[in-house]
């Protein structure tokens, strides 16, 4: 029958397309990984471990003679030490987490337990809208509003009160730096962590919370001692999710980070650069390097960042999924 033959071909076409499409994520991941790893090989040979221990990032004399070092060609005087960027990435994302985690957990608790009906939907929507703001808008706001405030009020204020604590003293400068980056990143990851934690908290059976209330525990004690332990693994996952996002974030930290080169942050207000920001910032100059070593170095930076973010995401996924399965708590017929 003609219809049967036609539909058979359609089906073959469908299956073929579906197979190609479904293979795409894997192929893409493998391809990207292959490109950054292959791209970084010359840089790995050129710099060795000094790539992650060195602080000097110098493209060398791009118009001078090309020297050979470790069997690979690079411009004279070139040095690619990414420690500054590694520290910038870890420090700014750590500050973001320190701010974002408590805020997110408390917001999530309000969303999950304290409000209901239209108000709950409205507040949840607002939090999710925050996640939809383009990162360049956060960056612009950071430059125009946040950094001046950090430079004039917040920074000097912290330095005045907590100046005796290491890293918290010192001049706040323009405000463009570590603290502003951490704050902007915190704002960007709060919606992500909040939404994940809210969903986790809503999975906690009301029965357990009432068990806590029934013993005379306060709302905070029930959250702290009953609900959060139940969702503990998922909570770690949600934090890792936010962390991965904070490390990979590019535009906003490029705009408010202060673009540090060749110097480690001395205090909370020092300018920094993150790995992602440096890749975006330096690619243009790197492309003028005739030996291509600068591009290889950026590729190595990308590989390092990819490893960090994929690892945190993977851990996050594993932990979040594990809680999803274990919230039907064993031994209790709910």
């Amino acid at each position: 029958m003609s219809r049967g033959r036609a539909s058979r071909w359609v089906d073959i076409g469908f299956r073929g397309t579906a197979a190609v499409c479904s293979a795409m994520p894997l192929v893409l991941l493998a391809a990207i990984l292959a490109v950054v790893v292959a791209g970084s090989l010359p840089s790995i040979r050129y710099m060795g471990w000094q790539f992650i221990t060195g602080i000097t990032w110098n493209l060398g004399n791009l118009y001078g003679a090309i020297s050979v070092h470790g069997g690979v060609r690079a411009p004279a005087g070139a040095s690619y030490g990414a420690l500054v960027f590694l520290v910038g990435t870890l420090a700014s994302s750590a500050i973001a987490l320190v701010i974002a985690v408590p805020v997110s957990v408390l917001t999530a608790a309000v969303l999950a337990y304290q409000v209901r009906g239209p108000l709950q939907s409205l507040l949840s929507l607002l939090v999710e809208l925050l996640a939809g703001i383009p990162s360049v808008v956060f960056g612009l706001w950071g430059i125009l509003v946040l950094a001046p405030w950090v430079g004039r009020q917040l920074g000097p204020g912290i330095a005045h009160v907590l100046g005796w604590v290491p890293f918290l003293g010192g001049a706040a400068g323009t405000g463009l730096g570590l603290l502003s980056s951490g704050l902007v990143l915190a704002l960007m990851i709060i919606p992500i962590i909040t939404a994940a934690v809210r969903d986790l908290l809503m999975q906690v059976p009301r029965l357990y919370r009432e068990g806590g209330f029934g013993l005379g525990l306060t709302s905070w004690e029930v959250l702290r001692h009953v609900c959060l332990p139940i969702v503990r693994e998922g909570l770690i996952g949600a934090v890792a999710l936010g962390w991965g996002r904070a490390m990979g974030e590019t535009m906003a930290v490029l705009m408010v980070g202060g673009s540090a080169l060749n110097q480690l942050p001395e205090n909370l207000y020092s300018p920094i650069s993150t790995m992602a920001a440096v890749i975006a910032n330096q690619l243009d100059s790197a492309l003028t390097d005739a030996s291509h070593m600068a591009v290889h170095a950026l590729a190595e930076l990308a590989a390092l960042l990819l490893v960090l973010t994929v690892a945190t995401n993977l851990v996050a996924r594993l932990l979040v999924n594990r809680v999803g399965r274990s919230t039907t708590v064993p031994g209790v017929r709910v």
Binding site: P205, F213, G214, G216, G331, V332
Partner: protein, 250 residues
């Protein structure tokens, strides 16, 4: 020692729906009072008002007076109320992340008991009162969820007793348990009522007869009849009580 509770004009709502209609009732000290009635009659809401748990449900509210020796429960801080009026729930709900020991010790620690020896002593005393000590004394550090359903429920009773309440509310405490565990819980209630004022919601009329000195019959949010258990079951004054206990509805 248990204390008596005197309830006056207690009404409760979920959103716009009124689930309790101006209840007046006197719950005597050191007696077990059974609260019976068909599903949705407000009996659970009633006991949940007595420890102010009702109002933790978003949209729920209550009004009226619940007088204890300490004063009107409705005017006290709910956290203080729940220290005086303990509760055991329909389904065993030990904290799933905590050990047997910590399930009981948590509330004690949070109320300021710090010394290990005192904690251990009070945990043991509570477990003994809940007739669970002998079964779990070698498993105190095991997760509470590893216990059987009946043991979990007795753990929840021990947990409630540990904070030394004067009133113990039980919302169908045996409905999720097998017959043997149910009998153990009932035995326990008969023992505990010499020391506590007990209010037990039950679907099981035989259970009310077995454990309760007094019985209250609720229907559509109203208290229809309240008296000695034997009176209520043998000579009900209200036709609706008679219909319910003789199995004509509910």
């Amino acid at each position: 020692m248990g204390k008596s509770i005197s309830v006056a004009g207690l009404s409760a709502w979920y959103g716009d729906q009124q689930t309790l209609q101006s209840i007046d009732i006197e719950l005597k000290a050191n007696t077990a009072t059974a609260v019976i009635g068909p599903s949705g009659c407000g009996k659970s809401t009633f006991v949940r008002c007595l420890n102010r748990l009702h109002e933790t449900v978003p949209g729920a509210r209550m009004e009226g007076r619940i007088e204890l020796e300490e004063g009107d429960l409705c005017r006290m801080h709910p956290v203080d109320v729940r220290r005086i009026v303990g509760m055991v729930f329909q389904k065993p709900n030990p904290f799933p992340t905590l050990s047997v020991f910590d399930n009981i010790a948590l509330a004690l620690r949070l109320s300021g008991v710090r010394r290990r020896s005192e904690l251990a002593e009070r945990v043991e005393r509570s477990l003994r009162m809940a007739a669970l000590w002998d079964e779990v004394k070698d498993r105190l550090r095991h997760p509470a969820t590893a216990l059987s359903g009946g043991q979990q429920q007795r753990l929840c009773i021990a947990r409630a007793l540990a904070v030394e309440p004067e009133v113990l509310l039980m919302d169908e405490p045996a409905s999720a348990l097998d017959p043997v565990s149910t009998l153990r819980i009932e035995e326990l209630i008969r023992e505990l009522k010499s020391r506590y004022t007990i209010v037990i919601v039950t679907h099981n009329l035989q259970q009310a007869i077995r454990v309760a000195d007094r019985t209250a019959f609720f229907l559509n949010g109203e208290l229809i009849e309240f008296g000695d258990t034997s009176e209520v079951f043998e000579h009900p004054r209200d036709r609706r009580t008679e219909d319910y206990i003789s199995g004509r509805f509910g």
